[in-house]
């Protein structure tokens, strides 16, 4: 005998919600998923009426579902938001072409304006070119740092008030665990915040409407809605902590499915004693982007790339920042240290 949907008790259940264990029909699942995102948006007051919101779109499942749900809720609840898609072209042959094609199709399906900013136009380097210089081992440093700035720059070009990203509950919980493994309580607290205010010029406020959505449910939603996305799995190879945190989270979820929410809840409610020092934010002496050092990470990485000293941005070389800013030459010893790269 087929199982009936526990919500409408009418249609046949087609899935068991990973988050609650309830058996639901397709329509009831869509409704529950969308309502939860709506609740998240309303409870945290993520948007104001008439705001211009950029949806960070990579063509992957998270951002595709985000774009779909944002468009839908904006209409259903009359948020009055002006939505647009914002994409970063890192410049990777093969991979990026395909995912950007997906984003372009999304643009037409959702009838939203799209802005693509490329690493090449922003930094003069494509990711392919970077990898050929720094090797695979360190590429994540570059893609993380460059991507963050690229989104901000794209957002400023589009004059959006806010960027929303596709970070889901699994991502947030994973980051909490990762910060525990790194012993970083200060970041631990901050990584669960649902939205960040502008931290300075050149930084656009960000928020995560899918913060409480399980990755598994995002996949189910995209599957049953037949959404068009580019399927890819990220490998965080260079960051040992994230890999361990991810493994642990998957295991926790298998023991107790609510674990993902429970970990986030823990992170949100952790009280940090006053005086836990967070790095003081200043601005980059070269590009004006926020930075706790004399030069922002992107500028240091770029300087390293342009001078053929790729190690400059990897590891801690803060003492060299002033030298770089004032364009002094580096000593031979310094140069030698910064040249070698493990591939």
């Amino acid at each position: 005998m087929p199982v009936l949907c526990s919500s409408c008790v009418d249609k046949r259940a087609v899935l068991k919600r990973p988050k609650t264990g309830h058996s639901l029909c397709k329509e009831c699942f869509f409704w529950a998923f969308e309502e939860e995102v709506h609740q998240t948006i309303v409870a945290a007051e993520l948007f104001k009426r008439w705001e211009k919101v950029g949806i960070a779109a990579s063509g992957g499942k998270d951002s595709t579902v985000l774009a779909h749900v944002m468009k839908l809720l904006n209409q259903r609840y009359d948020y009055g938001l002006e939505l647009m898609l914002l994409s970063v072209d890192e410049g990777i042959t093969g991979y990026r072409d395909d995912s950007l094609e997906t984003v372009k199709r999304n643009q037409q399906q959702y009838e939203l304006p799209l802005k693509i900013v490329s690493y090449e136009e922003l930094y003069g380097w494509t990711m392919d070119a970077i990898v050929s210089q720094v090797g695979l081992k360190n590429n994540c440093t570059f893609c993380g740092v460059f991507r963050r700035q690229a989104l901000d720059r794209g957002a400023i070009m589009l004059k959006v008030d806010k960027i929303c990203t596709g970070h889901n509950a699994d991502d947030v919980a994973e980051t909490v665990l990762m910060n525990v493994l790194r012993g970083d309580i200060a970041r631990l607290r901050r990584c669960t915040t649902i939205s960040t205010a502008s931290e300075g010029d050149g930084v656009v406020p960000r928020c995560k409407p899918l913060k409480y959505a399980y990755e598994k449910e995002i996949v189910l939603y995209a599957y049953f809605k037949k959404l068009d996305y580019f399927s890819t799995e990220c490998i965080y190879s260079p960051n040992a902590y994230r890999g361990h945190a991810r493994t642990l989270l998957k295991d926790l979820e298998s023991v107790r499915p609510s674990s993902i929410m429970d970990v986030i809840h823990s992170g949100e409610n952790l009280s940090v004693r006053d005086g836990v020092k967070m790095p003081v934010q200043g601005t980059c002496g070269r590009c004006g982007y926020i930075s706790s050092q004399a030069l922002c990470k992107a500028c240091v990485l770029l300087e390293g790339l342009n001078r053929g000293l790729p190690r400059l941005g990897i590891g801690k070389h803060h003492r060299l920042h002033d030298k770089i800013l004032s364009q002094q030459p580096l000593s031979e010893r310094e140069e030698r240290k910064l040249k070698s790269v493990d591939f």
């Binding site: 665990l177 926790l252 298998s254 429970d262 823990s266 409610n269 940090v272």
Partner: protein
């Protein structure tokens, strides 16, 4: 060539400057000499490069214990301190440190008056009466050798605990600044007349536990009513804590010393976070925990790793007794506590800095105000006290995931903390143990009606059944 490998990375989230690599376990140190005295041959390698000879290791180990107590100045001279000994290496090592510190030839003598408590959990973990007697006898021999008064308490006793255990009692005094100094003064005066605080003790020994025949099955049914091992372990640790606090309180001890090592605390930190207990990390893993008001929990072993303790116990023949626990022999993924433990232990084997890195977070957590017994909300099960007066409520219906803040008014659901709501949720409906469970969690008190209400709302069918009767 690397395109396939590259395929994933543009999706990477910003890792900011998180690129500190984990340090792999290095090759064992070849140094054969003690790093401290630079003379004797090394007997112990704590970490790469930290090799001690027998004598220097002992000195280092003992110093660390005194330093921990000295630095925190929380135990007053002459104060009655109850040592919770589980039979495991860490708490047994703690016992030996207290003995060492109270001995006549101790360099800086400890000046408090100790007693020992052992909670016999045999009834909850399925030991036979015979096994329980054997374990208790083994521990009794260890305890007797110390000359300290001791209490062997069966877990079954928790079933007839008075309701006020759950309520934090007011601490005896507000202990203003300078109180420690005054107490030292008093102590010095009084101890000059009597010889030593140890010999002062009456030979007050508890005999072997006398378990009521009927209460063991009741306890077993209570444990069995919990569906998951995760919730069962959580419940057991809550019961244990209540009984420890109750024993301390009824025997007149104002401090309760727990033997948690830093390895244990790292595991606890990670499992607490995974169980949704993030808000109470400071209470659960800090040096002291004053949530119970008149009895303060203290963790003097928190700077020792399990490895150091094992070395010490072996070198100096500190006895310990192995006792089965709920998750003994359970597979790795049997419970959240078991999973986080094996995760930390495995990671520690590969990356020796794991425990110390996780543990680094602990001191950064805030301490709870010592005098907090005012009407701040306090969890009816674990006695967790909310900092900001807010309790989060989980709902168990269709929208299980939508969490909301309890309203300002005294919502009955605020009687359970977030994590205990999870535990109670895992209790099965068709359980005959309702009486035991309710007596335990919801004792007769003025708030009884309110509590019954909580259970209905927290949707534990087990208790709903009871309420409807």
């Amino acid at each position: 060539r690397y395109l396939s490998l590259l395929a994933g990375f543009p999706m990477c989230q910003v890792d900011e400057d998180y690129h500190d690599e984990l340090e792999r376990a290095g090759a064992p140190s070849v140094s054969k000499q003690c790093v401290k005295c630079k003379e004797a041959t090394a007997a112990v390698v704590i970490r790469v490069g930290d090799t001690f000879c027998r004598g220097c290791f002992k000195e280092y180990f003992i110093h660390k214990f005194r330093a921990m107590l000295g630095k925190n100045r929380i135990i007053f001279p002459g104060e009655k301190v109850l040592l919770a000994v589980s039979g495991g290496p860490s708490s047994c090592s703690m016992l030996s440190q207290v003995q060492e510190g109270l001995s006549q030839n101790a360099h800086k003598k400890l000046r408090f008056s100790p007693g020992i408590v052992f909670i016999d959990e045999g009834g909850a973990v399925g030991q036979s009466a015979e096994e329980r007697r054997r374990t208790a006898a083994e521990l009794e021999a260890v305890f007797k050798a110390t000359g300290f008064p001791f209490h062997i308490v069966p877990l079954e006793k928790v079933l007839d605990l008075p309701s006020k255990v759950l309520m934090a009692a007011p601490s005896p005094s507000e202990q203003p600044a300078g109180a420690y100094k005054t107490a030292v003064g008093h102590f010095l005066q009084s101890s000059s007349s009597s010889s030593s605080c140890v010999t002062q003790q009456e030979e007050k020994e508890s005999s072997l536990p006398d378990v009521q025949e009927s209460s063991t099955p009741l306890l077993q049914r209570l444990m069995a009513s919990v569906e998951t091992l995760t919730a069962r372990e959580d419940l057991l640790s809550t019961l244990r804590q209540h009984l420890l606090v109750h024993t301390a309180r009824s025997e007149g001890y104002s401090k309760l010393m727990l033997g948690d090592s830093c390895t244990r605390l790292a595991v606890k930190l990670l499992s607490s976070i995974s169980l949704g207990r993030g808000a109470q990390l400071a209470q659960d893993t800090g040096f002291s925990d004053s949530r119970f008001g008149d009895v303060t929990l203290v963790r003097p072993m928190r700077d020792y790793s399990a490895k150091e303790i094992a070395f010490y116990n072996r070198l100096f023949s500190v006895p310990s007794v192995s006792i089965p626990s709920l998750d003994t022999k359970a597979p790795e993924k049997a419970s959240i506590q078991r999973l986080t433990e094996s995760f930390v232990i495995k990671l520690q084997a590969d990356f020796p800095s794991t425990v110390s890195t996780i543990y680094r977070s602990v001191p950064n957590l805030p301490e709870l105000n010592r005098t907090f017994y005012n009407p701040r909300p306090c969890c009816s099960v674990c006695a967790y006290t909310s900092f900001n007066g807010v309790f989060w409520v989980r709902t168990c219906d269709e929208q299980a995931a939508v969490r909301y803040r309890a309203p300002e008014t005294a919502d009955v659901r605020t009687l359970l903390c977030y994590s205990c709501q999870l535990t109670i949720k895992d209790m099965v409906s068709q359980s005959p143990c309702t009486a035991a469970g309710s007596a335990l969690l919801f004792p007769k008190s003025t708030q009884e009606e309110k509590r019954k209400h909580v259970l209905v709302q927290v949707c534990c069918p087990l208790f709903r059944e009871l309420v409807e009767k």
